[in-house]
């Protein structure tokens, strides 16, 4: 009996150590860009633009976005780039009459030959299907996507043109940033997730040659996209899948997160929307995991990294569950050795450090976006940290549950334009 107890204790300690290692790896990814001073240049956009030489096709998929779509169309049309080198394709679905109407009105107003409207049938799927049809019509050297609520920087095409001309790259993932950091309690951490992901983590992935791309502001050579066969319409996260396929094809991916040039987005409007969005992403990752394409990555380290990224939401859920268990166990379980109780606290140390990093991230976020630092917001962030982890856990568990039940319908995230004017 004593032996069984000891074995169970060692198993428990082993699990905690693994979870701690995972948390440390996560911290390392979050802080990757700040590891060396030279890495700052990875996120520095060119300051002198090259002459516009590359042509762009901007795909603008939307579904029931009548509130925000006209504004987005206008913003994309207004980008500082010669109009003859820009093709804008608004991708709408036939039953979405509201958005179609708004788009048509805007098109009539613009009267621009380079802005086109492509209405697709609802029978053949959602966003990936729309994108694939858009790709067929694309004429530009570079294809990119902006979401319906996006607010790209006016010079983004200049920056990307210059980057493509100056560097030997196939894909440029530019920064995407949620902007409404203080509208709801969970917004702080949602905003910071994007901040750390695009500014730091993606650089780590790019260095390892396994980059799960974002859903928009990703610029890919059109020929390469066509060679890859476009987006996979069977997954809920076609963007992450595309990233893995590009890495399998050994494409050179450049991450460029300059705070001044990020594409501005908004957080989901409600907790329900947030959980639905997170469920979709997590389920998409599970689908990619079981599709097994990531096994075609060349190196073992790339495969492991892909595996880690794809199961990270579930690992995160395990981490959050083990956190209180560890603390309670340290106090109430009669461990053979005191160091075992100390090990129970290791995930908590990581957790607190993640909170501190988030605070530092908030400080940097408000500074670079010329906002005011407020201690009250910092306090809310700290208070929201644990509940936010539980929201993520619900998203992770719900995704697994939906996958087991076989439901894979697209749960749309509504947009109301909270980020505009921020």
């Amino acid at each position: 009996m004593q032996n069984i107890k000891l074995i169970l204790e060692y198993i428990y300690v082993g699990v905690l150590l693994l979870v701690t290692l995972q948390a440390l790896f996560n911290i390392r990814i979050l802080l990757y860009i700040w590891e060396e001073p030279q890495k700052a240049w990875l996120n520095s956009a060119p300051t002198v633009y090259r002459e516009p030489r590359l042509s762009f096709t901007i795909l603008l998929p939307a579904y029931h976005e009548e509130d925000v779509f006209a504004y987005t169309l206008q913003k994309v049309y207004d980008l500082n780039y010669p109009k003859k080198l820009v093709q804008v394709i608004a991708l709408l679905r036939e039953h979405d009459t509201g958005t179609i109407k708004v788009a048509q009105e805007k098109l009539n107003q613009l009267r621009a030959p380079n802005v086109q409207l492509l209405v697709t049938s609802d029978k053949h799927g959602g966003k990936p299907h729309q994108l694939n049809l858009g790709l067929r019509m694309a004429k530009g050297d570079i294809v990119t996507i902006f979401d319906a609520e996006d607010e790209p920087h006016p010079d983004i095409l200049q920056v990307i043109n210059t980057t493509f001309l100056n560097e030997s790259v196939d894909v440029v993932q530019s920064g995407v940033q949620l902007m409404n950091h203080n509208t709801k309690w969970f917004c702080f951490l949602n905003v910071l997730e994007y901040f750390f992901w695009f500014k730091s983590a993606l650089h780590f992935f790019a260095r390892c040659g396994m980059t799960p791309l974002g859903g928009n502001t990703v610029f890919v050579k059109r020929e390469l996209m066509q060679q890859l066969g476009g987006w996979d319409h069977t997954t809920l996260t076609e963007d992450a899948d595309l990233g893995i396929r590009l890495c399998i094809a050994k494409s050179k991916v450049r991450i460029l997160y300059d705070d001044a040039f990020v594409t501005k987005e908004e957080t989901p409007n409600t907790i329900e929307q947030f959980i639905k969005q997170r469920t979709r992403w997590n389920q998409g990752f599970i689908q990619i995991l079981f599709a097994g394409r990531w096994m075609q990555l060349e190196k073992f380290s790339q495969k492991m990294l892909a595996l880690y990224v794809l199961i990270q939401p579930e690992l995160q859920a395990l981490f959050t569950i083990l956190l209180p268990i560890g603390i309670l166990a340290a106090f109430f379980l009669p461990f053979e050795q005191p160091w075992m109780a100390v090990v129970s606290w290791l995930p908590m140390f990581c957790f607190v450090f993640l909170m501190i990093i988030s605070l530092a991230g908030l400080h940097e976020f408000v500074k670079v976006h010329h906002r005011q630092w407020k201690w009250r917001e910092a306090f809310v962030l700290l208070l929201a940290f644990l509940p936010y982890q539980f929201l993520l856990d619900i998203g992770a568990v719900r995704a697994v549950w939906r996958q087991l039940r076989g439901s894979s319908n697209w749960e749309k995230t509504a947009h109301v334009g909270q980020h505009r004017g921020q």
Binding site: E51, R53, T162, P338, V342
Partner: protein, 585 residues
């Protein structure tokens, strides 16, 4: 130009030709690498090109100034103006370190006399190797990290008798740490002053000061802590603002604090060092990471004590069962010890007597560096390092002769930095910077023989010989089952099988202080009866404690019923050791 070349090799696109805080000239290399992309659209008209150029000009004129990431590492080493090949630098440092090593090991095993602190550390290390944290009851007032390192050393070198006896083994480790500390101080000063000759001077001043020569050879927590502290500082100053190096520096500082809690006082100034050496781009994350890791390392020990049930004394926290031997109880006990008036002054006078020039120069240099720190942050850092410990020393409740050890490297650092800064200014003014290096080499050349001459008569004394003789006597004359009460420095050797005659162990040896502090020894082993004691090895300190403190009635009675079997050394120089055999009727 070389910077531009380097930048080019990293990234052909981003070349910053000139940069200040709010202005930069950024250029790109017009190399087009676009794979299948068109290299030119080919259909722009001249008019379109002119229009583009003019638009771009207007944009640049109207654009708000964008601050580039501030990634310049702040290091004085960029001031190196006299080019010295690395091999020559290594040779010079190796030669000086060699001299330091020779002087430092001079009469290492015989001078100074083995101290109680040395003996306690070695006894603890021996106990750790034999499954106990300390020979007596562990009070939790000190983490076992310090003697854990010594235990590791004993394992590595084959036990306590590899160098004759336990303290000799410990002293060899201290010499290794001392040489490493000297080298670390060289690297730190080189980075902080920007002068390798000044760094060499700091290393010589530090290592050949008589205080260093005496105390750095002793087995002390302070010597272990100084090594880790200097390692931490070295990593910060030489790490080129790498976050990974800051992590290692934090771990090193954490080990220093766990080796000797007094090093916690350096945390604020070490944070300042991180702030200074981290680029603005990385600063907040570097500071937070450094601080958090240090605190976590300390917290892990506190948690360990907590879960061992030894954090709180009884009655401190309601509903929490306290322990008689507890960490907080131990700390409170330290604070309840009455301040011995004049202890600092007494030690200060002794230090002044031995090394007045070094101390005076160090303190003046510290004051000068505080003034110079207004314009030169490196000077301020050097001054703060020394000033921090000066404050601690002034306000400590107990000051030992060896308490000065952590101050010594920083005094040397301050002297080198304070001398180098004005001399550099002058030699640069006259356009002959080489003169500065020559001056330092002359000073080093004079310091080395002078220090050796000064140290030789002190180091030539054989204060530890009576202690070694008493060990030998016990081994040759006492039965192995005898109950022996000794000062701490004989404990490990008597408990361990070994020595020149490969003598068997004396398993019933106890340190005299444990007879009071450990009830198990008093009540169970000795049954509170002096007749259960067979031998007492008594030195001057032990005799004073037994007679004056009133706690050692048992031992006092044993001495009164004892007969003096032999004695070594003499009372005049304080080396007298007497061995009593207790006569039981």
């Amino acid at each position: 130009m070389s910077e531009i070349k380097n930048r080019k090799s990293e990234n052909l696109a981003n070349v910053t030709l000139f940069r200040t805080a709010n202005f930069f000239v950024h250029a790109f290399t017009p190399v087009v690498k676009t794979g299948t992309l068109p290299k030119a659209s080919g259909n722009e008209t001249i008019l379109e090109r002119i229009r583009w150029t003019s638009t771009e000009k207007e944009r640049l004129m109207a654009a708000q100034t964008r601050l580039l990431p501030q990634v310049d590492t702040v290091t004085a080493s960029q001031w190196h103006e006299i080019s010295i090949p690395l091999g020559l630098e290594i040779l010079a440092v190796a030669v000086v370190l060699g001299i330091i090593l020779v002087v430092q090991v001079m009469n290492l095993f015989n001078y100074p006399a083995y101290g109680a602190a040395e003996g306690t550390l070695m006894a603890n290390a021996w106990s750790l190797l034999h499954g106990q944290i300390t020979p007596g009851a562990y009070t939790f007032s000190q983490p076992p990290i310090g003697w854990g390192q010594i235990a590791g050393w004993l394992l590595l070198t084959g036990g306590t008798s590899s160098f004759g006896n336990a303290i000799n083994s410990g002293r060899v480790l201290m010499i290794v740490l001392a040489i490493a500390s000297s080298l670390l101080l060289y690297l730190i000063t080189s980075r902080m002053s920007g002068s390798r000759s000044a760094a060499l001077l700091a290393m010589v001043i530090y290592s050949l000061s008589i205080l260093s020569l005496v105390y750095r050879r002793e087995v002390l927590f302070e010597n272990i802590g100084v090594f880790w502290l200097l390692l931490s500082l070295c990593l910060i100053t030489t790490g080129k603002s790498s976050l990974r190096t800051f992590v290692f520096a934090a771990v090193a500082l954490g080990i220093a604090i766990l080796s000797d809690e007094v090093f916690l006082c350096f945390l604020p100034v070490m944070l300042y060092a991180v702030w200074l050496y981290a680029t603005p781009f990385q600063r907040q994350y570097s500071l937070l990471t450094f601080l958090y890791i240090v605190l976590v390392i300390v917290a892990i020990y506190v948690l360990y004590v907590w879960f061992s049930g030894q954090l709180f004394p009884p009655g401190l926290i309601p509903f929490v069962n306290g322990s008689q031997e507890s960490l907080i109880g131990g700390i409170l006990q330290i604070w309840q010890v009455p301040v011995v008036a004049g202890q600092f002054a007494e030690n200060w006078n002794a230090w002044l007597k031995d090394a007045w020039l070094f101390l005076a120069a160090g303190i003046v240099a510290m004051a000068l560096n505080i003034l110079g720190g207004v314009v030169n942050r490196f000077q301020l850092l050097a001054a703060l390092l020394a000033a921090t410990y000066c404050v601690v020393l002034l306000f400590s409740r107990t000051v030992y002769p060896f308490s000065i050890v952590p101050l010594l490297p920083f005094l040397a650092l301050n002297i080198a930095v304070a001398l180098n800064t004005p001399v550099r200014w002058v030699t640069k003014k006259i356009g002959f910077d080489l003169a500065r290096a020559l001056l330092w080499f002359l000073l080093i050349g004079a310091l080395i023989p002078a220090s050796i001459q000064l140290a030789q008569p002190v180091l030539a004394q054989n204060d530890a010989v009576p202690q070694q003789q008493s060990l030998l006597w016990i081994r040759n004359n006492a039965p192995h089952n005898a109950v022996i009460i000794t000062p701490s420095y004989l404990y490990s050797d008597l408990r361990d099988q070994g020595g020149a005659s490969n003598s068997a162990a004396f398993p019933n040896t106890y340190i005299y202080t444990d007879v009071v502090s450990d009830s198990l020894i008093t009540n169970v082993q000795l049954k509170q009866n002096w007749q259960n004691i067979n031998f007492l090895v008594v030195d001057a300190t032990m005799l004073n404690d037994i007679r004056d403190s009133g706690q050692y009635e048992l031992l006092d009675e044993a001495i009164h019923h004892g007969t003096l079997r032999t004695s070594f050394g003499n009372a005049q120089d304080g080396t007298l050791i007497q061995i009593y055999q207790v006569i039981t009727t």
